[in-house]
């Protein structure tokens, strides 16, 4: 398991959150959603999203399915699983306290 505060964990958390709020999405949709929501502050190299998606699929946090998208193109849609929801709840709490801690240090040091 990666370092719980690494960039990889952050990316996982972002993906899970987006899928939780917006429902099933394809990879491109997830990438643009993260960019839009973070107001382009978090611009991940888009390619690195896919290994993360496949790893989370492997872990059972998300499931994937080929479906025809709005433009009739075939796209792989990812959806959050029950295990993913649980993971999201745990990780977002942990991440919030971690981020709050970092922010406190930055402010008061």
């Amino acid at each position: 398991m990666a370092n719980p505060n690494s960039a990889q964990t952050a990316l996982d958390l972002l993906v899970l959150t987006v899928l939780d709020r917006r429902g099933p999405l394809h990879g491109y949709g997830i990438a643009t959603a993260i960019e839009d929501l973070s107001q382009e502050a978090l611009r991940v190299e888009e390619g690195s999203l896919y290994p993360a998606l496949h790893r989370m699929e492997e872990l059972g946090w998300i499931s994937a399915e080929w479906k025809a998208s709005e433009t009739k193109r075939r796209a792989r849609f990812y959806r959050l699983t029950k295990a993913g929801k649980k993971q999201l709840a745990n990780e977002s709490d942990r991440w919030s306290s971690f981020a709050a801690g970092v922010a406190r240090v930055l402010r008061h040091a």
Binding site: H26, G27, T32, E45, E46, S48, Y50, P51
Partner: protein
């Protein structure tokens, strides 16, 4: 993803590759479209989309590694490779396979014989003290084993038994033969069995215990016989009668003659020789041999 789906992916790695390529292409197309809508010309949009995507080949390798066991895939590739090699030279491959099959088969056969004949003890009480009597053929005096005979007449047997009396016990065994048997009801199906005749004291001499009922005793040698009796082999009892102990006392027909089943020999005993396991030894009924 379970090991099963990984195995499926390994068996079908081309489909997995296609899936990954499709997914990447889909992403790039969508990004290109979006950039064009912002006013970029097609070439520029495509380049920018690729730049934003990053190293597609590296990502493909990473995802492949996640979704299948590369080791397993390697093994399957080896198998496919050797299969193609064999298809290229089918004559040679067939020769090799046949040679191996013959060699393995011959080894197995020889071992089976050695196992049965030498390694496994005879299924009798005291195999070390068991002897088989034979005599040189009279018509060919002085010659060795090949022309030996182990056929004895019943009077000979009686004389030898008396002569050997306190030191050794003798028993007669017929060579096994085929017989037809059926239940004593009308139109019962007929079954072919192997049976052999033995003298009354044969089981006692060999130290064989009954699995059901009783085995022959010397009283069965009485002549004239008042009734024909038979002992079943354990295998036949199990196969034909489902190990039913109630068969003891029942009569069946063997070669159209009613024969009473008096018992079943213990498991593992069928004969001193390797005749079929469905042996049905009847008592010694003839004066010959």
């Amino acid at each position: 993803m379970s090991w099963l789906s990984r195995l499926k992916n390994a068996l079908n790695s081309r489909r997995l590759d296609d899936d990954l390529s499709d997914e990447i292409r889909d992403h790039l197309e969508r990004r290109t479209d979006a950039l064009r809508k912002q006013g970029l010309d097609p070439d520029e949009a495509r380049h920018k989309a690729q730049a934003r995507f990053g190293n597609a080949t590296l990502l493909r390798e990473q995802s492949r590694g996640l979704r299948l066991w590369t080791g397993l895939e390697g093994t399957l590739q080896d198998i496919r490779y050797s299969w193609r090699g064999m298809c290229k030279a089918p004559g040679f491959a067939l020769t090799v396979v046949l040679s191996l099959a013959l060699a393995i088969g011959a080894n197995t056969a020889i071992y089976s014989i050695v196992d049965a004949a030498i390694l496994r003890p005879l299924p009798v009480g005291d195999p070390g003290r068991l002897f088989r009597l034979s005599f040189p053929s009279v018509s060919d005096p002085g010659s060795l084993a090949e022309s030996e005979s182990d056929w004895f007449s019943y009077p000979e047997y009686l004389q030898f038994t008396a002569a050997a009396a306190p030191v050794a016990r003798l028993a007669l065994f017929s060579s096994p033969g085929r017989a037809e048997t059926h239940e004593l009801t009308a139109r019962a199906p007929i079954e072919k069995i192997n049976r052999a005749y033995v003298s009354g004291g044969a089981f006692e001499m060999l130290g064989i215990q009954p699995a059901a009922g009783r085995l022959f005793s010397t009283t069965e040698d009485r002549i004239p016989q008042d009734r024909a009796v038979a002992v079943l082999s354990y295998d036949y009892w199990r196969r034909r009668f489902g190990q039913d102990p109630a068969v003891v006392g029942r009569s069946i027909a063997i070669n159209e003659k009613a024969v009473e089943i008096i018992g079943v020999a213990r498991e593992g005993f069928w004969s001193l020789e390797n005749w079929s396991t469905s042996g049905c030894p009847e008592r010694c009924t003839t004066h010959e041999r």
